[in-house]
Amino acid sequence: MQTHDPLSAAFSALADPTRRAILARLAQGEASVGELARPFAMSGPAVTKHLKVLENAGLISRRRAAQQRPAKLEPAALKAVTLWLETYRQLWEDGLGRLDTYLADLQRKDG
């Protein structure tokens, strides 16, 4: 659906808690499919499915070496998502600042 939309693919990938947990593990360093499957008591193919989603979203890359195809985090991609979220935080903080002032004005009029 959104294969050419990196930001959307990243958000879709991040929407799954297991994938977020996989990313958290990869933040500590490269890991093989076996190493990733262990904490979830998940099968290799199940983990591989998640890794494919993460790879398509540009959040991880996987080495061709060996059967286990170790995965590693791609920080640039997460940075894009984080930056995007920061704009939201800024917008909301800004808006809530306006609400603060508005509430003060409202109460001053009544008081």
Partner: protein
């Protein structure tokens, strides 16, 4: 920047704020269109509220205009539980063929505290179509500190 905080954030933003006002008034500011028109949006934003129906399934449509920006925010209310909880979807950047570029789920909870009302806002990005949004943003300046060029570069890195 360590990747760990970014992973914790994932696709959501949480903001907690205490307002020096009673809970009912704060809740009204989010549900009464007359109030919303006066404070919604960033600094210098002027609003025209077309719809703000605070009930499950109620429509949201408001035009936000300011220095360098002018767009319509759409959406709908999901649940309204006065005065403690409010959930609504906000949608921005409508595509020419229909559909929205950004869809966020906003969950606001309110509680009375010593100084007034504590509000916790939890914003979940359900959808963000990068290309569409970047095209629409163009030269927007909504008081964001973010450099759009930087974001574009980073999105470019994703596809490289």
């Amino acid at each position: 920047m360590s990747p760990k905080p970014a992973l914790g954030a994932g696709h959501e933003v949480t903001i907690v704020r205490v307002f020096k006002a009673p809970i009912d008034l704060v809740f009204d500011c989010f549900t009464d269109p007359a109030h919303v028109a006066k404070w919604w949006g960033p600094t210098d934003c002027v609003n025209e509220v077309y719809a703000w129906e605070a009930r499950p399934g109620g429509a949201i449509s408001l035009r936000m205009a300011g220095p360098g920006f002018d767009h319509v925010m759409g959406g709908e209310f999901v649940s309204v539980d006065r005065p403690r909880r409010l959930v609504f979807l906000s949608k921005a950047f409508e595509a020419p063929g229909g559909g929205w570029g950004i869809v966020n789920r906003n969950t606001l909870t309110f509680e009375t505290v010593e100084d007034g009302t504590r509000m916790t806002s939890h914003i979940l990005v359900e959808r963000a179509e990068g290309a569409l949004v970047l095209g629409a943003l163009g030269g927007l300046e909504m008081g964001w500190n973010l450099s759009l060029m930087r974001l574009e570069d980073l999105v470019g890195e994703l596809t490289a």
